[in-house]
Symmetry: C2
Subunit: 432 residues, 2 copies
């Protein structure tokens, strides 16, 4: 009988308590080869659902990470810098295993941490950093491994997806749903990281790195949030046969890797269109594998703790190998490519309600050789203005942006036109 | 630099050639740590898309499997007995790695093969046996690993799913679509294994074993095929807001493990309802992970070869551990439980078109205390008969079967009533 691996948890928030519960379950698998021995949190006396008094207590997470009697350190503190980074460096620096749910840390410093692990023989695992309970990291790393990955596209932020779903199903405004989500604890008091698209960008940088065999390149992600999506957009998209989702997309082009996060209109047969509420999902496209979709719970105690547990078992079974699927030396600093900005687009305009305005809009589009595919006017007024939306045939986003500028300059709109791409669905039959 | 592992492929059909193509790709990952050295097939001279003349040729697959200069044997012959089983036993018996796409072999003899592997140190991997390119085996084994799996439900046979999708979208009969599928090579000349539900049953036995920590128990799967699903069923289900799919379901009950394969009506928000054509999908439900869905290409050269490749990389990276997730000694012979046969049901009857018949049907249902939820009559005649369909409120299937028998005995129907369960969808919001 080999000795069990000794585990320490740094950070006893929701997920930390969830992991401890899995250790406390006598039927669970964690105790077969692992034993929880130590914990750390800022406040020892805070009431928690688990009694932690039988474990070694560390006031300092860094001290826990440095302790040679802990074989596996679980970092659940969060943040790309400071204590979380110190903990990761301390654990990996002495050759221990580090399991983390910290997407900001991995997106910003993943390559540095792998370098430390490769030097010391430490192991770095971060399934819980992306997609909550959905095993996106392992799937890309282990199952798409023998293939040539062409793209990843996902719904990676449960808060945004919850807000968009509630706006659609409840007919409520963005601000209304956001404040409810904050009240219920689904959204942070400062919601910028979520609704601004940054949380999804962190996750995309990690997934693209694994899928495309590159180093995480967070700074290269082009980020747009959902804060400009209006109830008008949701309703008009629905009338036109689409649903709006915040899509994180990584793509290999002839030039390199392109990454972007932003709202998009999905057709009703798109593989991500029915991913509702707080669910997360990923679609990977690879040769010769084809299209692979994963859907599951993207956040919360249970799903995230389950992902931490799967990493623990990988460590216990000796399955933890290269964090990004390959040794660091083989991870390219992938050339940066611009997102593909050619396709069909949706445009919303708030125009003056008088004769000639639609003609003025059409003229500016025609001048850029952009064909209108559909056109809808809302039967509501906002003062002297009325919202209209249109979808284009395939065009360059740059040309559409020029047309939008010309429309604004013509003085017929109350605000800059809003533009969102329409995501084409894939053929899903035998040949797909 | 360590020596590369030497790989031999036994069976050069579609998948075997697909794997060889991955080795032939200079950008691919397979050649980093592996090298294809030997192949075997029944007919050396058959034209193939790859030139195999530079590899060692074996007329006998068993001889290839026994050759000590081959470290990894890929078995792509098929069948639960005979040559395929001999190949598996020979390779594992000498401590080599065996990778197989053979669901019949694993469902019938998986435990025996694991026993050999545990004795010799050989490795057994079979991602390609289930779900084509969808990594169902690895997901259940590695990602649901720390959780308590409660159920798995999947669309595991692409041929059945293709036929049902074509019947719905093209308004064509079962026989018509089947003969086209046979002509196109999607269905075998003898379609019993697919349309009778047996192929799905093999796959379910394997997935349930991994999910529930048990040995495969093929004989315990209750199997019903799609050969009795009519175009009337498809159309009436659609009118009622459902879509018919062949569902393979494994469930942990208080008594043990229940497994069944059969057609069912899915509501339009069910996670599997949009899995169309030849796609395969799996929904796993586990505590505290929640519901996890995987969708992808279920068959064909590329997806299946990609799954074989992911197993090859597991072997090369030293990640291949227990085939069913645990040592054989820890795999329980799970107690057999009966499927849960209580819920809402769909019933189709071909009744005489005369007054009093509907009353006779309703009476027999009322006698078993079964409430009718909806009732539809088709505006078509089949001779003196007319099809009617109804859905019940929650009832026991046994009671419904007694009512069906009583209706038959009353002499008002042309054939035994057809019964299919209605699968309830899950709540998918924050609490799901």
């Amino acid at each position: 009988m080999t000795e069990k691996l000794r585990v320490g948890i740094a950070g006893l928030g929701t997920v930390g308590v969830g992991v401890a519960k899995l250790f406390a379950n006598p039927d669970g698998r964690l105790n077969e080869k692992l034993v929880l021995t130590a914990v750390s949190a800022r406040n020892k006396d805070r009431p928690r659902a688990i009694d932690f008094s039988t474990y070694r207590w560390f006031d300092s997470a860094e001290a826990l990470a440095a302790d040679p009697e802990i074989d596996v350190v679980i970092e659940l503190i969060g943040g790309a810098e400071g204590v979380a980074k110190n903990v990761a460096e301390a654990a990996l620096g002495r050759g221990a295993a580090l399991i983390t749910a910290n997407k900001a840390l991995i997106a910003a410093h993943g390559a540095e941490l792998v370098a430390i692990a490769e030097r010391t023989g430490g192991k770095l695992l971060f399934e819980a950093a992306v997609g909550g309970g959905v095993p996106m990291v392992k799937a890309l790393r282990d199952s798409v491994a023998g293939c040539h990955a062409k793209s990843v596209a996902g719904i990676l932020n449960g808060t945004c997806n919850f807000i968009l779903t509630e706006m659609e199903t409840g007919g409520r405004t963005f601000a209304d749903v956001l404040s409810e989500a904050q009240r219920l604890g689904y959204a942070e008091a400062d919601p910028t990281t979520d609704v601004g698209g940054w949380d999804a960008a962190h996750k995309l940088a990690i997934l693209a790195a694994i899928a495309f065999g590159a180093r995480p390149d967070l700074e290269h992600v082009r980020v747009e949030g959902i804060d400009n999506v209006t109830l008008t957009d949701i309703r008009m998209a629905s009338k036109l046969g689409y649903r709006i989702k915040l899509i994180a997309r990584g793509l290999v082009t002839a030039e390199g890797v392109a990454m972007q996060v932003g709202p998009a209109l999905l057709g009703m047969d798109h593989p991500l269109v029915n991913v509702s509420g707080s669910l997360n999902a990923l679609v990977a496209d690879a040769d010769p594998l084809g299209q692979l979709t994963f859907i599951g719970r993207g956040a919360g105690e249970g799903p995230t703790a389950a992902s931490v547990a799967s990493d623990l078992i990988d460590v216990a079974e000796g399955r933890a190998a290269h964090a990004f699927g390959r040794p660091l030396a083989q991870l390219a600093a992938a050339p940066r490519a611009a997102p593909v900005e050619r396709g069909r687009y949706y445009m919303r305009l708030l125009v003056e309600d008088r004769p000639g305005v639609v003609a003025a809009v059409s003229d500016r589009l025609a001048h850029e050789e952009i064909s209108i595919e559909s056109f809808l006017q809302m039967p509501v007024h906002e003062g002297p203005f009325v919202p209209i939306v249109l979808t284009t045939q395939t065009c360059a986003r740059a040309a559409l942006a020029r047309a939008a500028k010309a429309i604004e300059d013509a003085g017929v709109v109350a605000e800059a036109p809003a533009i969102m791409p329409i995501e084409e669905s894939r053929n899903r039959g035998w040949g797909a």
